[in-house]
Structures are given as C-alpha cells and as structure tokens.
C-alpha cells in the first residue's frame, strides 16, 4: 500500500506541484507589474545584465577574504549536488525510464561518491555557519533551515539506499524527494531558478544607470 502510494499517486502529485508551482512563481516574477523606468539610459541594460550574471560567480575582492568559507563551501555543495543529481547512474536511469525517455553518460561510482561527499561537506559547513554566526542566524528564517535540512535528508536517504538491496530504503529516499518537490516552489529553494534572472535584473538596473558594480 505504502509502496503503491509513494511510487504512484504521491510521486505524480509532487511532480505536478513542483512543475506548476515553479512555472507560476517564475511567471509571477517575470510578468509581474513593475514600474516603467522613465530615466534616460546612461548605459546598456543588457550589457549590465550579462556582466552581472557572470561577475557574481566570483566574490568582490574587498569582501572575498571575509566570506572565503561560504564561497568554497557554497561551490562544493552546489557543484556536488548538481553532479549527483544529473550524473549519478541511478538518477540517469530513473530520468530515462520514468520522465524523459532518453539518458546520457553517467559518472563512475567513485566520482559519484566524491561528488556526494563534496555536497554533504559543503552543506554541513554552510548550515553550521548560518547557525553559528550571529548575523547570519538573525537574518535566517525558518524556511532557510527547513530547506537546508530537507536537502540534507534527501541526500542522506539517497546515499543510505546506495546498495539497492532494500525496497524500504528506496521508498524512504523517494518519499523525501517527494516532500522536497512539494516544498520547493514555496521556499527559498526557488533560487535554483531565480538566481540568474535576479542577477540579470539587478545588472540591467545598474547597467542602465551606468553603475559599474
């Protein structure tokens, strides 16, 4: 019964919530009514947008020494998670068989393990830093903590089920993934999709005013 629920209705429900939720949120952001900028353009908005999208991958040299830990841990976590999500063999097979109908070359097992270790280590450092630094702790919301813990739990259940010997472990992982998908559109996890438009918007705003930032 539980197996049927997790593999069937709950999976489709969570997938629908994720897809519809993300699309609605993106539409709300992109097509939301904004004030028309009537000022005379002093620079290129599109140039500023492109510049900002890429320049923000590297921290500004003035603050870089103070946020070195977050930058390194941030890259470790995000790159590790990206590699695990899209290039781990079980995920590639799952996407091919259940969603896309086509697959691609997956990582070797050792690379998968290393990538997941990077992701775990990075996320742990980021969340602990958020908890231990008084300023970060104050500006963090419940959503930040829930998102971090949920992501960690999803990764953990996936790794615990690596041996593929037990249906219960696979179901536990899939269930946490479903919770993650349902939570995703209504949380800070949306930054997966919004960080590029957000940077572009800020960059365009600066670029149009001739601000070199």
């Amino acid at each position: 019964m539980i197996e049927y629920l997790i593999d069937g209705p709950l999976w489709y429900f969570s997938l629908a919530v994720f897809c519809i939720g993300v699309l609605l949120q993106l539409a709300r952001i992109l097509f939301g009514a904004g004030k028309t900028d009537l000022s005379v353009a002093r620079g290129s908005a599109s140039g500023g947008a492109w510049r900002n999208v890429f320049s923000r991958f590297i921290p500004h040299h003035e603050i870089a020494p103070k946020i070195r830990l977050q930058v390194v841990a941030g890259y470790m976590f995000h790159l590790g998670l990206f590699a695990v999500l899209f290039f781990a063999a079980p995920h590639v097979i799952f996407l091919e068989e259940h969603l896309l109908g086509f697959g691609w070359t997956s990582m070797p097992h050792w690379a998968f393990i290393v990538a997941s270790q990077f992701a775990f280590f990075g996320l742990l450092i980021l969340w602990l830093r958020r908890m231990l630094n008084s300023v970060s702790r104050l500006i963090s919301t419940l959503d930040d903590h829930v998102a971090a813990i949920l992501t960690f739990v999803v990764m953990l259940t996936g790794c615990l089920a690596l041996l593929k010997g037990f249906t219960e472990l696979r179901l536990l992982h899939r269930f946490t993934v479903e919770l993650f998908l349902i939570y995703f559109p209504f949380s800070c996890l949306m930054h997966t999709f919004t960080f590029i438009p957000s940077r572009a918007f800020t960059g365009a705003w600066f670029g149009r005013r001739g601000i070199d930032a």
Binding site: F120, I125, L132, S134, L162, F166
Partner: protein
C-alpha cells in the same frame, strides 16, 4: 505369417529367423534379471565415509611449509589457499571488541552519572559575571561542529555494524537489522573521508595553541583541580583539553587511515593488513567514543559556563579565571573583555537583566 513364409524366398526367411533369434537373445537377460530377487550389496565394514578432500585441506592448513603457494592467478595472496590468520582475526573480533565495547561504553556513562551525582556541576567561584571574552572564531566553531556531527554519525553507524548482530537482531529481527546495517555501511563509508578532511582542518586551526608548555604538568599533578584544594593554573587550553585534542587527532588519524584501507580493498593490501586495520579501526573508535562521552559531559552539564564557548564563541571572564588563569591575565592586559550589553548586542538580542545585574555586582 505362414503365408508370408510360403511366399518369401529362402534368403529372406533366414533373415527373419536371424532377427527373431537376435531379439530373443537381447530380451532373455533383461527378463531374467527382472525376475531374479534383489541382492543386498555387502560393502566391507570399516570403510570410512569421510570426505577424502579433508586430508588435503588439513595438510594445506597445518603444514609447516610457507602458506603462500604458486598460482597462475595474478593478485594479492592469490597463492594462499587458506588464510589461518583470518580465523584468529574473526575469533578476536567476536571475543574482544564485540564483547567488551558495550561494557566499556556503559562503564564510562555509569562513571559520569556517578560523578555527577556525587560532585554535581563544577561551578565557578563567584558565579558567572556576564562579562564575556571571545574564545573561538566562527570558523573554529564550524570546524569543531562539523567534526563533532560527522563523528557522531560515524560512531552511531559504526556501532550498528560492530554490535548489531548481538544487540539489535534480538530487538528488531533479521530483516530490519539487515536494512539498518546496509544503510549504516553506506553512510559510514561515505562520511568517513569527510571526517578525515575535518580532522585536517582541526589540525590547521587548533594545533599551535595545543602544544604543551610550562605549567601544564602542574595541572596534571593536581588532576585538573579534582585532587586537593586550590586553583589549577592553565593557559588558553589547559593540559586536559590539550591531551583530549591530541588524542582526537592521533586516534582520529589512526581511525581514518585504517578506514581508508578497509574501504578501498583494491589497492594491493593483503588480508592481514585489512585485519590489522580493522582491529586498529575498532579499538581507536571505541576509545574515541568513550572519551568523547566525557568531553560532551564536561562541555555541557559537567562544567558551568563551558558550553557557551562553542555556542556563541564567547566565555565568561570568571570562567576564564577559574580554568585558564594565564590566558585571563593576557586578556586583561589587552582589554579584550566585552560587557554584558555589548555581548547581547553582538548576539542580536536584548540584554538579559540577570547578566546585567551580575555585571553590576562585580
């Protein structure tokens, strides 16, 4: 039939008769044996039915010659038919670590409970003042907690793997235990290297301040203040903390290296090295778990004011004077003390009235 014989040629009649004779010749012995009574086969008494191969294997196992033979198979120990050491290792594992590890851990917990019941929380003379001193940076606390969380996860999963057969199967049954063991094994192997990296970060962050110095021996001779009366002198870290630190580093590296040997069996290490690594891994882990229980006790309910060091990074000046007087002297010289209000502001909260009152009474 008679008509056929009448019409047939003499040659063909001979052939038919020959065929019939052949048929009779073939069938008579079969029918005779079927009709005969079943005979009991009398095997000679006293013949042993033991597997003749056992003598060969006994010779392989107990011979005086070197255990390594010659084989066309290329690989580590591919010429060894029976690894006698493996039996000794298995017996040692079952009779020692599996047997004594739960006892050791329970004994430590019991000692701490008794100690707390008899001595209670180790207080600070004059209580907490509310005036704080920065002890650890954010980075140092992150390193500490990463190591602590990963260690706890590894300890838990490791104990499931070590003691699960004897302790968990009677409780959960075979299926649930095998599920738990499978998950523990995967999690343990995955988080092991993270522990090693955290350990290296721990060395880089804390090693310099944990080098033994003059005065540390006095701390040891007075049992960290538990023997005799009077104050025990200590620097930024006292000798107990330094010893704990070096134990974590040494045992941690021993566990990590032996763990890497165990988790990567394809790098040419033989079974003997694997068995030794396993023993080192288990003994080191049990030792570290046992002492870390003491560390957790001292850092939380055991000593007044200690937990704040790894929570906010600050400690009370009275706590510093009680446990680290040499460091307290440096702090006062450098005017590094923060008021209760300032500390509350740094932590992003309103000043606690109790803290302020305590500070004003100083």
């Amino acid at each position: 039939m008679v008509e056929i014989f009448k019409k047939s040629t003499p040659g063909s009649a001979i052939l038919v008769i020959a065929f019939l004779l052949l048929l009779v010749f073939l069938l008579i012995p079969q029918s005779a044996s079927a009709a005969a009574p079943q005979q009991q086969v009398d095997f000679p008494k006293g013949v042993s039915a033991v597997n003749p191969g056992s003598d060969l294997w006994r010779e392989v196992r107990q011979r005086d010659l070197p255990m390594q033979g010659i084989s066309q198979v290329r690989g580590v120990e591919s010429g060894v038919l029976i690894n006698v050491q493996g039996d000794r290792w298995a017996r040692f594992r079952i009779n020692n670590p599996v047997k004594y590890a739960p006892m050791a851990l329970l004994a430590v917990i019991l000692i701490l409970v008794l100690f707390y019941a008899l001595r209670g929380k180790v207080g600070i003379e004059g209580g907490l003042s509310g005036r704080m001193v920065k002890r650890f940076t954010d980075y140092e606390r992150v390193v500490h907690w990463v190591l602590a969380i990963v260690f706890l996860f590894l300890a838990l999963t490791g104990l499931v793997l070590l003691l699960g057969r004897t302790l968990l199967i009677p409780l959960f049954g075979h299926h649930l235990f095998s599920l738990l063991a499978s998950a523990s094994k995967e999690g343990h192997n995955l988080f092991g290297p993270i522990f090693l990296v955290s350990l290296v970060m721990m060395v880089i962050s804390f090693a310099r301040r944990n080098i033994y110095e003059k005065g540390d021996l006095t701390w040891l001779l007075k049992g960290g203040g538990f023997i005799g009366k009077g104050h025990v002198s200590g620097g930024f870290f006292n000798m107990g903390e330094k010893s704990w630190y070096w134990l974590v580093i040494l045992a941690g590296f021993a566990i990590s290296i032996s763990g890497l040997i165990l988790v990567s069996p394809n790098f040419g290490q033989g079974r003997v090295i694997m068995e030794i690594s396993h023993i080192v891994h288990v003994i080191g882990a049990i030792l570290l778990i046992a002492i870390s229980i003491g560390h957790m006790y001292m850092g939380s309910i055991g000593t007044e004011g200690s937990s704040e060091a790894m929570k906010s990074g600050y400690v009370d000046i009275n706590w510093v004077e009680a446990h680290h007087d040499r460091w307290a002297k440096q702090i006062k010289e450098n005017s590094e003390i923060v008021s209760a209000e300032e500390f509350a502001r740094l932590q992003g909260r309103a000043p606690d009235s109790a803290d302020t009152a305590a500070e004003q009474s100083q």
